[in-house]
Each structure stands twice: as structure tokens, then as C-alpha cells.
Symmetry: C2
Subunit: 277 residues, 2 copies
Amino acid sequence: MTKKQLIIDKAIELFAEKGIEATSIQQITEQCGISKGAFYLSFSSKDELVLSIIDHFMRLITADIDQVVRQEKDPQIKLYEFYLTTFQLFEKYAKFAKVLFREQLQSIHDAFIEKINYYDNLTNQATLRLLDELYGERIEDTKYDVLVVMKGFIHIYSQLLFAGKLPFNLQLLSETLVEKTNIIAEQTKLPFLTEEIVQLVRNPAPEELSTSHIIEEIERLTSQVEDPIEIESLSILKEQLQGERISQAILLGLLHNLANNEQCKWLVYLVKQKYTP
Amino acid sequence: MTKKQLIIDKAIELFAEKGIEATSIQQITEQCGISKGAFYLSFSSKDELVLSIIDHFMRLITADIDQVVRQEKDPQIKLYEFYLTTFQLFEKYAKFAKVLFREQLQSIHDAFIEKINYYDNLTNQATLRLLDELYGERIEDTKYDVLVVMKGFIHIYSQLLFAGKLPFNLQLLSETLVEKTNIIAEQTKLPFLTEEIVQLVRNPAPEELSTSHIIEEIERLTSQVEDPIEIESLSILKEQLQGERISQAILLGLLHNLANNEQCKWLVYLVKQKYTP
DNA sequence: TTGACAACTGACTGGTTAGTCATTACTATA
DNA sequence: TATAGTAATGACTAACCAGTCAGTTGTCAA
């Protein structure tokens, strides 16, 4: 484990316990068994640490959820898996999720909200695509309401999950939420949200999806991954993206090689967003 | 306005802007135009200020919502009014509500969560009574889920309210939530929450409802209210509660006299809880 | 063994915090 | 006007904070 990862792990623990604001760098370095100076070799400031943590976890979560929604499957099953994956991710990254819910509207720094909003919007996009597959034109008027209600379900049941000490039956919970979502989507006649939310659910900033940004991510990963297949895949992927014609078959094959490595999930997500239908 | 009230008002503003943790006593006193020492004449610590603020607003909110639910009306109309009142209260005390949502799961101090939970449970009790009126036995299996879903609706739409700069059409929002609530309550077959939540929605601590506690509240108010009718009502109320036989007619009449004064709302709520069916 | 370089340390700076308390200003009664 | 009692002040303490940097330690190659 790199020093950076160690710091992130311990910081998350402390943030979850006491909140970001109330946790000092001192306490984090003590928990890590390193000196204060060593912290500043890995991160230039406390803010950078927090932003790194948000990026780190939100990328994992966003990529996983997107992957579930992109599958070629019965949309009803995907809806179930969407809920289940979401709750499983919250369980897996419980401490981070606690921090997230905790500081939610809270700022300390506008940059934090902005970053969280950015990833939130990405997930909203994926969810809207799923809703379109599920109900299509039938919920044209109410789709934003259905989206928001789904987020409300997730939000409030997550709170219970965190308040109670677990373990909950997440499969059963997801089943009941699928039922509720279908009922709401099929029966709701009155829309509330129309255009206001379009601003809130705005498209993600496009610069993230530039080819050069993706190439950078590949180069970053090249120095981190160890598996030879993955290294070669990254190398070929770079060539493909820089070449003139891109073979979908090769692309998908390469992404498949990389999909199981947590570090590469974000890259896979970015490439799929940009180059696959 | 008392000095205490001035401090509460300005503190709420600053807390809403920057969060509780990030707001110093210094800043609060500067905003009030008083010295640091003067603050400590009104509150013994920052924690006491925060707890006072929570009490102050949660009492107003709890009492108002309880009053809506207690009316003798068509339950469907009460459901609508329940939502509308909730959102109107959030709008009225927007700054406090922001602080509440902001620090939500956050502790800084366990005492804060405990207090918020206490009032949350009171509102849950009122909501469950309303659900019983609305759907009775039909939702015996799913009533806790319906309760939680209602809270999810309120939570997530409130977040939108706070994120967007308002103004939203709260009447329309409440109408759509009535529709959604009815749909969920009448159509949901699969229960998820059963007994776990009974622990979370536990009854409020009973000591709050002791007669002596209510008498104390009357005495506290006697030195604060100015309207002669209200002063006399408090005096007679005290006699009634200390006497052996309590006349329901007199009681209700007195409560009616006091109901319009914001300061007295909590007393009215307490007496109704204890002495009226 | 030596030298070069990177990793690491922790005392230190300048700043902010909650809370205290000797002192002063004000107010009301005699 | 004199006096007693209360309200208010703000300099002060001790603790903590993020971030810095001169100096130490560890490592590896020559």
C-alpha cells in the first residue's frame, strides 16, 4: 500500500468518526504512524486530501453503477441490480459513505460540493437512461420526479442502514424498492419537476471526456498497474485512441481486460462514455 | 427581543452560511454587536447555544405538525396539509433547516443527534397516527415503510428546495406527494421494515410529559408573555393541572387562548399530548 | 567507504479557538 | 448625589490548528 493510500484510509476513518472539519492533520498522521511533514509529501494541503478522497471513492462508485446500467439485460433486473449495487457499494465503502452523507450539503469549501455534484450528475444520467429503458415515453412528464423519488428512497434507507448497526437484507430491500419504483413510475399522474431540475441534472463538464484527458489517465495507470496483460492492454489502448481508426472489437476486448482492476475502473468508464454507443 | 434571542438569530444565520463547527463565538458576538463576555452571560458554552437553537426550532416545528395531524378533518386533506405545513415550516425557518440538514448525521457532539432524534421520533408518532387514520389495517404490514418513504420524499424534495434558490410551488409539490403517498400505501405489497425500526421509532422519553415538567414550562412562560389574557390563561392552567379534577372544556379553552402565541406552542403541545385523547 | 539523493522528522511560525476574569459602564434606588 | 448591584467589556490564557523547513536518517550506486 502506498503512503498516499494509507493516509486516505486512516483519514476516512477519522472523518467518518468526527467529521472533516473536526479532524486535524496531526490526528491523521498520528493514526498513520508518520510525521506531519510526511503528510505534506503526499498531499499539498488538507483540501487536496479531501478532494482526492472524494475522487477516489466517487470514481469507483460511479463506474460500478454505470456498468450495471449498461448491461444488456432485462431492464427490470437492471433496476434491481441498480439498487442492490448502490447499497452494496455504500456498505463496502461505508465509512466514506458516512462522510458523504454527513457533510452533504455542508461545504467548508464550495469545491467539495461541486465535486460531489459532478459525480452525482453522472449517476443521474445513467439512472435516466435506465428509466428510459424501463418506461420510455410513458413517464415523459414525470421522469425527473421518478429520478428524484428513487434518490429519496436510496437516501432515506441508507440513513437507516447507517443509523442501525446493520446487517440488513439488501436483496430484500432492493426488491421492495423495485416494487415501489414501478408503482410510482406507472401510476403517478401529477408531475412536479419539469425544467428546474434540468439545470440541476445538467450534463457533466465535457472537458473530462477529451481524448487527451483519457490518455493522461492511461499514462497515470501505466506506472501503477503490475499485471503484464493489463500493462499491454493499456499500451495498446493508448495506440488505438491516438490512431485514426478505432476498432470497437479491440476496444471492448481491452476494456474487458482492465475491468476487474479497481484502479482501472474509472478509465474503463471514461472510454465507454466516449467511444461506445 | 431578549439578548438570548438576538444571539440565537445571528448564530443561526452564521451557522447556515458556514456550518456550526466553522462559526466562532467571536464571529457571532461581532454580528450581534456585543462583546465575547456578554455571550457567556446568556449561554454557558457554545454547545448550550446549539442545543438551545435545536430546542427552539424543533419545538415550533413539532408543535405545528402535531396540530395539523390532530385536526378533525378528512384524513386526505390532513395528509396534504401535513406535507404543505412541513415545507412551509422549512421555508419559514429556512436557515435553521439548512443547518439541520447540513449537520444531520454529523455529531460534533452526540447530544446534538440525540436531541434531533428525540424530536424526530415525536413527529414520527404523529405521522403514524395519521397513517392509521388514512389506511388503517390495510397497511399494517407496510406502515413503517410508508412512514420512511414519506420522510424520504420530504428529505429529497427539501434538498432541491435548498439547492435551487426557490421559490417552488409548495401547494403543487404537496399535491403530488399526496398522490405518491396514496399510491405507495395502497399498492405496496412487499414490506421491508418490520421490527428493526420499532427501536428507531421508539416512544419519546416519558419524563418530558410529567406534570411537574409542564408546570415548569408554565412558570417559565409566565415571566415571558405579555398579553393579559395569556397571563391569566397560564395562571388558571396551572391551577387546573395542580387540582384534582381537570375540566376538559376549560383545558381546551385555555389552550385555544394560548395557541396563537409562538412561545406557548410547545406548552400547548405538551398539554395536549398528556391530557387530551 | 563515500557521496548523492530521496524520504522523513518534529520543532517552529503565525494564526484561530473557547472560555475566563479583573475592570469599567450603566441603572435604579435611597 | 451617593451607593449598590447588575450588565458588559476585551485583554488574556491555554490549547489547538495548517503549513514550513532546517536538519536527520535511510538507501543505493559508484
